[in-house]
């Protein structure tokens, strides 16, 4: 089965530093997403992305966050100035289509971000 690949698997950074989390979605997918999960809490939606634009974003996705598809294969999440509360597992996901509620998202294994 095709996979969404995320790198790195673990990232440790100092508060205030910028981090870029990288993802390679499934090759024929057109819709891309970032979710996060703070330890012991629910999986939370951050942003969806299609046709080089943000389709929807949550309240969590403030000005400190940005997403980009710099080339035909990568999808990145940048946090400009990390805070302690940004520590979480970040999941990238992709889907082939926007299926009116029927879309099937494929998630990567995540990047564990630790902000010290």
């Amino acid at each position: 089965e095709p996979e969404v690949t995320q790198t790195p698997s673990h990232q440790v950074t100092q508060m205030g530093q910028e981090v870029i989390l990288r993802c390679v979605p499934i090759s024929n997918h057109l819709y891309f997403y970032w979710y996060r999960q703070i330890l012991g809490q629910k999986v939370e939606f951050l942003v969806s992305f299609y046709n080089n634009e943000i389709s929807e974003k949550s309240e969590i996705f403030d000005d400190q966050f940005s997403v980009e598809r710099p080339d035909g294969s990568n999808f990145t999440l940048k946090i400009r100035s990390t805070k302690l509360e940004d520590s979480a597992m970040y999941f990238c996901a992709s889907s082939r289509s926007r299926g009116q509620g029927r879309e099937k998202l494929f998630f990567g294994s995540g990047t564990q971000l630790s902000v010290l």
Binding site: Y31, G101, E103, L105, F107
Partner: protein, 111 residues
């Protein structure tokens, strides 16, 4: 957005059938019911999706009554590797892949 309610945890033995019922009283006409599975330190994995009646795939079955106010995920003959958190989601027809995860049901399978 339809809120979902499912048990916090369920225990089972290997080889048994596990049924997880989820209630979603406020489901809308164009909403779909979707179940995901999550292992520790991994991303959620799609299991099954349905609109009404019964859906079956190689992993599970999903039963949805006519009023669609609840759904039951059935895992036949579970093994130790089925120990995971299972999420019931109601996905809006106009969502942009914005999935609203709840706390899920922790299923523990023991020998």
């Amino acid at each position: 957005l339809a809120k979902t309610t499912q048990p916090i945890s369920m225990d089972s033995y290997e080889g048994q059938e596990v049924n997880i019922t989820c209630s979603h009283n406020n489901i809308a006409t164009n909403d779909y019911i979707t179940w995901y599975q999550q292992f520790p330190s991994q991303g959620p994995r799609f299991i099954i999706q349905g609109y009404k009646t019964k859906v079956t795939n190689e992993v599970a079955s999903l039963f949805i009554p006519a009023d669609r106010k609840s759904s039951t995920l059935s895992l036949p003959r579970v093994s130790l590797s089925d120990t995971a958190v299972y999420y019931c989601l109601v996905v809006q027809g106009d969502s942009w892949g914005k999935l609203q995860f709840g706390a899920g049901t922790q299923v523990v399978v023991t020998p």
